[in-house]
Amino acid sequence: MGKQIPKKISPSGIEALLTTREILIFCGSGGVGKTTVAAAAALAAVQNSNAKVMVLTIDPARRLADALGLESLGNIETRVPDSLLVQAGITPKGELYAAMLDTKASWDDLVVRYAPSQEVIDNIFSNNLYQNITSRFIQSHDYIAMERLFQLHSSGHYDLIILDTPPTRHAVDFLDAPKRMADFFGGRLLRWLTLPYRAGGGRGGRFVNLASRPFFRIADRILGNDFVQDIAEFFVNFQSMYDGFVERSKAVEQLLHDRRTSFVVTTTLEGAPLREAQAYCEQLKVRNLPLGALILNKLLPDFFRTETSISAARVLIEKMPEIAAQLGSDPKVISDADEISRVLTTITSTFTEYAIVAEREAELQVELSGLPEMVATIPLFSDDVHDLAGLGRVGSRLWVS
């Protein structure tokens, strides 16, 4: 015991970000309550400021939809009705909106926006691979999330957009998504691969030269001929959108570096999520991206570590028979000494077990004192946060007025 928890870890401070930023990107590993915390932050902003706040989630499990009491979310931006908020005991000053990322629909939007002609749009939409790439291909989520964020931001409808990022295993993948996409479309490899098509004079010359390239000879052997042609055709079509894509990717990347954007890393004080959160903070620093705050979620209450509780538990254990006898002989206490002794034993052993976890959490908090960023803490609630009232309770820990 007795380790000092650094002063800067206090349950406050996120309100500054919620009022001064236009975009907050919530990241962290799975299971730390990131979606909940992001939604709670949005709610806190709506409760405390006259702002239009959008919370955008990418999570395929539709957790946010549950938490916001909405039947379903889609790419469509939905206003959470004030009546629902009021029902949950929350008086909104601003307006709360929510949307969930529909990867497929977002890709379709992009194609329609950047394709040079209706013919290209039709070609892309009818390509066998397009369906698969957009709906099954996991990595495309990262990029499209950023893209959608950009779109929502440039619509100018919202004062604050909160993005709940996908639970990616490689934080870096997500951060680098716009750049990767630009590199990919501008890459030499892609140009080289699609050269025979373009040199052949558009669709008429599509099979010319292909077989002469060793790459295609091998790829044909491995993947089958139709498949390779589908791939090549897909990319030829995508190439025509190159300029639009690259420009857009750059704009998205710029937005991430903008002063109006901050990243918020959420974690619990468990070994693996914490290591990941630390790695994430590092990566943000390396990329010169603004880390606004670190939120420690689901912490055990302080009373496991106070001098008074620890000493009380010790005395209860040491003087168990005596205390049980006193309690058992008191006419107002209905149980006998044996029963009381058994229950007190359970109580103290429960306390001791949880205190081990609380102590580990405290040690990890000390470790975090090396991180200079704003740190907020949210305690573990004895029941789940699954409705607006619960989100409001979490939100009140983020916005301390």
């Binding site: 001929n225 139709d226 070994g271």
Partner: protein
């Protein structure tokens, strides 16, 4: 600590020999302890004298750490007596595939393989997924045909969001690629995955709101889209029930004014906090039970419970404790079943 009725493990009668499968996969939402359960299962299989290949497909690469071994690569490395581990790397898997299956010594021929691989992986749907499943099933097939020593291949598979597309990849690819060597390859992969005598998939979860909701959804989409036999739902980190019904009454009486006064006099005002701690433990547990009840109602699979461990660290010691708990649960279940 007593275990109340809503939380007792149930098993299929066949589960006594669950380790007789040749391929066991574990999936689940991130953070529920999927890797620990996979590692514990490996330990259990090894303790029965089986040769185990443990595949880490969860790119954090911490599976070997659960055996207090340094990180491993794509080549199986013994990390514990009887247990070899490998870290899935799709590019290495492609290299191996080209060399072994197609006899194409591609490396160094067509420019840097990394570039070509990035292209293929980015262009072709499910390429990474099929390379992963292909490598896993290839190890199983080698073992079945006596060319690899594994009695069992245990996989710490992808998390909830990815596992369906991973297991679905062979079928999806077969639809896309109708001819050629790849089409042929998908056939035997599908055969291994869909044989319930060979392959079983377990879902790991924790008794919390979101993990349980995700588990229910995952199992639905696995049943709809994937032809792999589902085994158990392993509910990890189940908190103990502090009080039985009688003791709950006694606990309530300890909160009365008369009792509080006696407790304060003997052990100080801190007894309030100690009692509050027990109260928290009671509500956390009650909460867990409600989620488990929800899971039971929604899912028609046997549930297996592993206790929450009040320990400071991970590592081999914890892996052993979980393996023991798993063994107890499985053998109890088999008797009951």
């Amino acid at each position: 600590m007593t275990t109340p009725e809503p939380v007792s493990s149930s098993f299929k009668s066949s589960d006594a020999d669950w380790l007789d499968r040749r391929l066991i996969l574990f999936t689940g939402k991130g953070g529920v302890g999927k890797s620990t359960v996979a590692a514990a299962t490996a330990l259990l299989a090894a303790s029965q004298g089986k040769k185990v290949l443990l595949v880490d497909n969860d790119s954090t690469g911490n599976l070997a750490a659960l055996f207090e071994h340094s990180e491993v690569g794509f080549t199986p490395t013994e990390i514990y007596p009887g247990i070899s581990a490998l870290q899935m790397e799709t590019e290495a898997s492609l290299r191996e595939y080209l060399n072994l299956q197609l006899r194409l010594p591609l490396a160094g021929r067509v420019g840097p393989l990394a570039n070509a691989f990035d292209f293929i992986a980015a262009a072709a749907p499910g390429v990474k997924e099929i390379l992963t499943m292909g490598k896993i099933c290839w190890e199983v097939r080698e073992a079945l045909e006596g060319r690899a020593p594994w009695d069992i291949v245990i996989v710490d598979a992808a998390a909830t969001g990815h596992v369906v597309s991973q297991l679905d990849a062979p079928r999806a690819i077969r639809e896309l690629v109708k001819v050629g060597p790849v089409a042929n390859q998908t056939e035997w992969i599908i055969k291994i995955l869909s044989d319930p005598q060979l392959t079983e998939l377990h879902v790991v979860t924790t008794p919390e709101e979101m993990p349980i909701s995700e588990t229910i959804q995952l199992i639905k989409s696995l049943e709809d889209r994937v032809d792999v036999a589902l085994g158990n739902v392993i509910v990890n980190r189940v908190l103990p029930e502090p009080f039985n019904r009688n003791d709950s009454v006694v606990f309530e009486s300890l909160k009365s004014d008369a009792a509080t006064e006696i407790l304060h006099r003997n052990a100080g005002l801190g007894t309030d906090e100690v009692l509050a701690a027990a109260e928290l433990a009671v509500s956390l547990r009650r909460n867990q039970v409600s989620h488990i009840t929800r899971l039971r109602a929604a899912v028609d699979l046997p549930l297996v419970y592993l206790p929450y461990l009040f320990v400071r660290d991970h590592g081999l010691r914890v892996t052993r404790v979980v393996a023991e708990a798993l063994e107890n649960e499985m053998s109890t279940g088999a008797r009951n079943g």
